[in-house]
Amino acid sequence: MTGFFIANENFLSARNIRIVMGITPEYIIVAIGIAILMISGEFDLSVGSVFALVPMTMVQLVHQGMPPWVAIALGLSIGIAVGFVNGFITLRFGIPSFIATLGMLYIARSLTTVATGGFPPPFPHELPNELFVFQFEVFRASLFWMLGVAFIAGIMLHRSNLGNWIYSTGGDTAAASSMGIKTNNVKMFCFILCGFLAGFAGMIQTFRIEAPLPSQGYLLELESIAAAVIGGVSLFGGVGTIFGAAIGAILIRFLESGIIMARIDAEWFRAGLGSLIIISVVFNTWVVRRGENMVHKNQAEENENNSQNNETVTESKDE
């Protein structure tokens, strides 16, 4: 980051921060949904497509003459429905969510393109986009929506008993269900939440650029998983935080902006992102290992002390 600042002092200028802050909330919301689902031990590769399908549905419904709020509600329920189908297929047929949602990635993207009828529709201005993306000094209204989502998700995951069930389901499904947790219901909830948040974030993006694009959210699924992983969410479930996922998403956006501002060829963004993923996971693993080693060392020392104490006890008995 310092490097980017040196390369172009405008990197931390109000204008650039304003641009980054304007787009980041959308990505954070998707990353939060993905992170929660990954903590429960599943994946969703369809978020990028849902990110396009939900706003496209909403816009087309408004063009059909539907009141804007009804169109928003129906659009969001498409996100919920996709999440439900993802969960249903994964859990009912016992196939990896990676496959189920990979299929959904293509299906939802295809539906989005079909829904455009060939060319992207214009943005209907009766939609209340001010409410979601109104531009303040340096940030947009979407920042508040994101903070709201993050706050509720954080309380749910870290403070509520539902969060405890999500962590236990992802940590060890068999153990959780032997403790009476309905692990399938927990996972289903996470799938639905992930679909809903991806659709909601897509809607915010459409409000911001005032055009529903069928290509919106292309490759977003991998970027969101990357954000979660950079933020310390485990690919194997059971580990991660909302805060970490949000930081991961922010880092990716600043990396992108930094590369552009440093006048490096923008194609280098993906190389940078790739390096960021690898470095952060290697670093996380290293920190965890070090922590474990320290514990083992302490335990070994304690055992030694104990046995020494025992020896002293026996000695004193002998006397």
Partner: protein, 247 residues
């Protein structure tokens, strides 16, 4: 140990896709006793405990708990009656803290909507430490992730959890597998302590020498059947070994 039966099974049968895993099994378990359930792999021990813990239901037969017939539809139902099962590998979530593990599925909550609410973390932390102290397990912090504990300590946490929720029967599936001698002795001490606090335990193992010193009653299984059911004073380790090996 009292003379009352806490659990009684009559003629339990269970088939798994054609395999007769449990054949007309009848068993009486006395209150406040330690029952050693021994048998080689595939003897039907796991099938029996899955039925007793509510994970599976028998194809025929009856189970009585404290004199009343019970038909469990889930492990939760068995747990609510006070039958807690500790599975060999899957009793704790390794990445989660001790306190969170103790309260999985039974969190103390406030401001709840339906079954979802905010966890009372402070009170849960304190209760977790008290529960650990009750089984003479002294660990530093309730926030320690379980994967930083030794095998014996983990079994201690599980037993503390069962005690905290006032279990009447504790089913332990191979609790001493893969443990060092020192850790095994720790676990055996935990189980002996249970008896004093009025908890019946069913100790499943294929290692006779682990359960023999602490058991009141020994039940040997082979090929889905019960081949011996003896009070400890009526038998000895040689006879049991012979039964176990030759079936």
């Amino acid at each position: 140990m009292s003379n009352e039966n806490i659990i009684e099974c009559k003629d339990l049968n269970k088939y798994y896709s054609g395999v007769h895993a449990l054949k007309n099994l009848s068993l009486k378990i006395k209150k406040d006793s330690v029952v050693g359930l021994i048998g080689d792999n595939g003897a039907g021990k796991s099938t029996l405990i899955k039925i007793l813990s509510g994970a599976h239901s028998p194809d025929s037969g009856h189970i009585y708990f404290e004199g009343n017939e019970v038909k469990f539809k889930s492990t939760k139902e068995a747990m609510n009656l006070g039958i807690e099962t500790i599975y060999q590998y899957s009793a704790l979530i390794p990445q989660m803290s001790i306190a969170r593990n103790i309260f999985i599925g039974r969190e103390q909550t406030t401001f709840s909507l339906g079954s979802i609410g905010l966890m009372k973390t402070k009170s849960m932390d304190k209760a977790a430490m008290d529960a650990l102290n009750d089984v003479e397990l002294h660990l530093r912090s309730p926030d320690t992730p379980v994967n930083q504990l030794s095998g014996g300590e983990r079994q201690g946490v599980v037993i503390a959890r069962a005690m905290y929720f006032k279990s009447k029967v504790l089913i332990l599936d191979e609790p001493t597998n893969h443990l060092s001698v020192k850790e095994t002795n720790k676990v055996l001490r935990f189980v002996e302590g249970l008896k004093k606090q009025g908890v019946t335990s069913i100790f499943i193992t294929h290692n006779l020498s682990h359960v023999y010193p602490i058991a009141d009653h020994l039940c040997v299984m082979a090929r889905g059947e019960k081949i011996a059911d003896l009070a400890k004073e009526d038998t000895n380790i040689d006879e049991l070994t012979d039964l176990l090996v030759n079936g």
